[in-house]
């Protein structure tokens, strides 16, 4: 058969009633894909809200309460940073990786790993270190999503800010989290942590 006639016979097959099943399968597959993908992303979005983050008391009673006193919750301009702003990467692939890691935290919740304030405090260093490490590795990407060094006006900042930002930060020697630990929560025992 020539190339042309091959295509012709394929077309006539697709038009014939016996191909209906194939069409149906394709249609279901497509619709299912859309629904699944949409649903998946919607579910992902739901888990990406502050309301979801503090729906378990471990978060609401500990970190959320502390965070309410800090600059990212209450300030003169009324702009807020919510939990996912700092804790979930914006890029899709990074987000999935973080979400998969987070399933372990769900396990922790189910087994009551940190279900009292005391237990939470006992694990705090470990939890904090994980976040410091993550932010150190991505050069404090989440902070930089909102705070862009390029647009920092040193004439508007305090002396102490300018001194540090124009030296160690500008040269890339240090990143936000090196100097701004505990920006949103109380700190664990800082014995042995660099610069503390």
């Amino acid at each position: 058969m020539t190339k042309e006639s091959k295509i012709k016979s394929l077309l006539s097959y697709l038009k014939s009633p016996s191909s209906a099943a194939l069409w149906l399968i394709l249609a279901i597959g497509f619709a299912g894909g859309v629904i699944f993908w949409g649903g998946f992303n919607t579910a992902l979005e739901v888990t990406n809200t502050e309301a979801f983050c503090i729906s378990c008391h471990e978060m609401e009673d500990n970190v959320y309460e502390e965070y309410k006193e800090t600059i990212h919750y209450s300030n003169r301009s009324g702009v807020r940073a919510t939990c996912p702003d700092c804790h979930v990467p914006k890029k899709w692939t990074h987000k999935i990786v973080r979400k998969i890691a987070a399933s372990k935290e769900v396990w922790g919740m189910l087994t009551g790993l940190i279900d009292t304030r005391e237990k939470f405090q006992d694990h705090r260093r470990e939890l904090a270190e994980r976040e410091w490490k993550r932010m150190k590795e991505n050069d404090s990407l989440e902070c930089r999503n909102c705070h862009n060094f390029e647009y920092m006006d040193f004439s508007e900042q305090g002396n102490r800010s300018v001194k540090m930002h124009s030296s160690a930060l500008a040269s890339g020697e240090k990143t936000c989290i090196d100097c701004h630990k505990g920006i949103a929560h109380e700190l664990p025992d800082m014995k042995g942590v660099d610069n503390w």
Partner: protein, 152 residues
């Protein structure tokens, strides 16, 4: 027989109440920090003052005065787990951050022993060092700062 105590109680109650009702509550002309106000009067609170954001050290008035804090300290926690002040004022970091080093008295215990790190009695910095607001004095102050510390 029983009527006498009842009369006495009602009478004394009535007297007590009338005295209460007619007594003027005055400050006796005394002006306190909250101004001349009747004792039973609640004055509305003044607007909060803004803490100085950042400034060079503020001159001291006498030898051994704890210097006042010339910068804001919002969110600076000092507790058993961490001490934010020492991440700048500790000897290890003072050079890098440009902050004044804590003086050696901060290493001394109350019986004069010198420790290898900050003494517990000097650990809670804001007990002695406080932030400032640009505000008029609440009461007249005739204190004269000592001249040797560069005050005029």
């Amino acid at each position: 027989m029983k009527i006498l105590p009842i009369i006495m109680i009602t009478a004394s109650l009535a007297m007590a109440l009338s005295v209460q009702a007619y007594q003027e509550v005055t400050s006796g002309g005394l002006e306190t920090i909250r101004g001349i106000a009747k004792i039973n009067e609640t004055k509305s609170a003044e607007a909060l003052k803004r803490v100085i954001k950042d400034k060079n050290p503020i001159q001291r008035n006498y030898v051994h005065q704890p210097p006042v804090v010339p910068h804001q300290t919002r969110g600076y926690r000092v507790n058993k787990d961490s001490n934010k002040c020492l991440t700048c004022h500790g000897w290890k970091y003072a050079r890098e951050t440009g902050a004044t080093k804590i003086s050696l008295t901060h290493f001394e215990t109350r019986d004069g022993k010198t420790l290898s790190d900050v003494s517990p009695r000097r650990y809670f910095c804001s007990q002695c060092h406080v932030t400032q607001a640009d505000a008029p004095e609440l009461v007249d102050n005739l204190f004269k700062p000592v001249e040797s510390l560069g005050n005029d």
